[in-house]
C-alpha cells in the first residue's frame, strides 16, 4: 500500500500531465484548422493541372518519345519509396503506421527481387528506417513539416526526385503518405508518381467534340515543363494532407491521453481517500483500545 505522501505526489504529477496533454490538444486543433485550409487552398491548382495534362495527353496520344516522367524508364527493377512522416512524435499511430507500411512494402519488393531505395521525408520515418535499412536510404528531407510548409519544400523534393530519375537511379517512384480521411482516421496510402498513370486522367477527358487545342510553343515542350511541375504539385498535396493528418492524429491522441489522465486522477483520489479513512480508523481504534486498557 502506497503511503499518503506518495499518492499525493502521483496525483500532482498526473494532474500536470493532464494539463500538458489538454494544451497540446488545443494547439493541435488550431493547427489542424490551418492545415486543412491550406490543403483546401492548394486544390484548385492540382485540379487545373490535371485537366491540362489530360488535354495534352489526349492531343499527344499515339506519338512516341514520351518523357521519362510520364512513361517511366521502361523497367521496374529499382523502386524508390518516399515515405512522408512528421518531424515530431506524440501523434498516436500516425508515424508508426507509415513506418510499418513502408517496412512491409520494402520486404515485399525485396522478396520479388526488386532493388529498393528510400528517400524518407520527416524525421520520424528517417530515424526509424535508418535503424533497419540504413544502406537503402539515398537521401533524407527533414524539417519541412513545420507549420508554414511552403511550396518550395515540395518543389525542392520534386527536383531531387527528377535528378535521381535523370541519373538513372530508379525506375518506379512511390510516395507513401497518410491520407486525411477525417480527424479520427488517417490512412497510409501508397501513390505511384513515376511512371505517372495518366490513363484515368485521359479517360476523364470531358468532351471529344471540343475544338482542337493550340499549343505554344508545342506539345512536347509543354509536357516536358508540365510534368515536373505536376510531380511537385502531387508531392505538395501529399505533404499537406500529411500535415493535416498529423495534427488530426495528435489531437485524437491527446484527447485520449487527457481522458485517461482524468480517469487516473479519479482512481488515485479514491485510493487516497480510502487510505486516509483507513488510517484515521486505525488511529481511533488504537486510542480507544488504549483508553479501555487504562
Amino acid at each position: 500500500m502506497a503511503s499518503l505522501k506518495e499518492l499525493r505526489a502521483r496525483i500532482g504529477s498526473v494532474k500536470s500531465t493532464k494539463k500538458i496533454t489538454s494544451a497540446m490538444k488545443m494547439v493541435a486543433a488550431a493547427k489542424l484548422r490551418r492545415a486543412q485550409q491550406k490543403a483546401e487552398a492548394a486544390r484548385p491548382y492540382a485540379v487545373a493541372m490535371r485537366r491540362m495534362l489530360a488535354e495534352l495527353a489526349s492531343a499527344m496520344a499515339g506519338q512516341d518519345g514520351a518523357p521519362k516522367l510520364l512513361a517511366g524508364t521502361g523497367g521496374d527493377r529499382v523502386h524508390l519509396l518516399v515515405p512522408i512522416t512528421s518531424d515530431r512524435g506524440l501523434a498516436g499511430g500516425f508515424n508508426s503506421n507509415i513506418n510499418r507500411r513502408t517496412r512491409q512494402t520494402i520486404r515485399k519488393l525485396q522478396a520479388e527481387g526488386k532493388i529498393v531505395k528510400i528517400l524518407p521525408v520527416g524525421r520520424k520515418g528517417a530515424d526509424y528506417l535508418a535503424r533497419e535499412f540504413s544502406d537503402l536510404i539515398v537521401d533524407r528531407v527533414i524539417g519541412v513539416g513545420g507549420k508554414e510548409l511552403p511550396f518550395s519544400a515540395a518543389s525542392d523534393l520534386g527536383d531531387k526526385i527528377v535528378s535521381l530519375l535523370e541519373a538513372g537511379e530508379f525506375d518506379v517512384c512511390t510516395v507513401i503518405y497518410n491520407q486525411f480521411r477525417n480527424v479520427m482516421s488517417q490512412v497510409p496510402t501508397p501513390l505511384q508518381l513515376i511512371p505517372l498513370g495518366l490513363d484515368d486522367a485521359a479517360a476523364a477527358e470531358p468532351d471529344a467534340n471540343a475544338a482542337q487545342y493550340e499549343f505554344e510553343p508545342d506539345e512536347q515542350t509543354l509536357l516536358e515543363r508540365l510534368l515536373p511541375r505536376n510531380l511537385q504539385v502531387q508531392l505538395y498535396a501529399a505533404m499537406l494532407e500529411s500535415a493535416a493528418g498529423e495534427q488530426g492524429a495528435r489531437m485524437t491522441a491527446m484527447d485520449n491521453a487527457t481522458r485517461n489522465a482524468g480517469k487516473a486522477i479519479d482512481r488515485l483520489s479514491q485510493t487516497y481517500n480510502r487510505t486516509r479513512q483507513a488510517n484515521i480508523t486505525n488511529e481511533l481504534i488504537e486510542i480507544m483500545s488504549g483508553a479501555q486498557a487504562v
Binding site: 487552398a41 491548382y45 471540343a210 499549343f215 510553343p217
Partner: protein
C-alpha cells in the same frame, strides 16, 4: 461578354472573376485572352498579367512563369508564383537578382540546361522589378 479569369498559384487561388480581356505574358510574346478565343495552352515567362474591364486596366499581377489554359469562356493561369503588382517588394527582388547574377557568374558555362534555367529566372526577376517600379 466577359471571360472568367483565374490566377492560381500552387498555394492558393489569387483571382477568380469575370473580366473583358486579360493580357498574358506568353513565352513567345504577350497574348490577350478574350471571349471566344480558340482553345490554347501556353507557357508563360515572368511578366505581368493585366486584367481589362472595358478599355481600362483594373488589376495587374506579376507571375513568375507558369502555364495558361485558354478556352472560349475561361482563362486559367497556373503561375509558379503570383503577386499583385502593388505588393511587389523591389528590395527583395533586387536581392534575388544579385544572388542569381552571382550564380550565373559562378555557373559552369558549358552546362546549357542550367544556364537556360538561370537566364529564365534572371529575366523573370528583372520583369518583376520593372513591374514593381512606380509608374513615371
Amino acid at each position: 461578354m466577359p471571360i472568367k479569369v483565374e490566377i492560381i498559384s500552387p498555394e492558393k487561388v489569387l483571382v477568380s472573376r469575370d473580366v473583358d480581356m486579360a493580357v498574358i505574358p506568353g513565352e513567345e510574346g504577350d497574348i490577350a485572352a478574350m471571349p471566344e478565343h480558340a482553345p490554347m495552352m501556353l507557357l508563360l515567362r515572368g511578366g505581368t498579367v493585366s486584367l481589362y474591364e472595358g478599355e481600362t486596366v483594373t488589376d495587374r499581377y506579376f507571375v513568375a512563369g507558369g502555364f495558361a489554359d485558354m478556352t472560349p469562356t475561361r482563362c486559367t493561369i497556373l503561375a509558379d508564383q503570383a503577386v499583385p503588382v502593388t505588393e511587389i517588394s523591389i528590395d527583395s527582388a533586387t536581392a534575388r537578382l544579385e544572388e542569381l547574377t552571382e550564380a550565373w557568374d559562378a555557373a559552369d558555362k558549358s552546362d546549357v540546361t542550367r544556364l537556360d534555367g538561370l537566364m529564365a529566372k534572371i529575366q523573370s526577376v528583372r520583369a518583376e522589378i520593372e513591374a514593381g517600379l512606380p509608374p513615371e
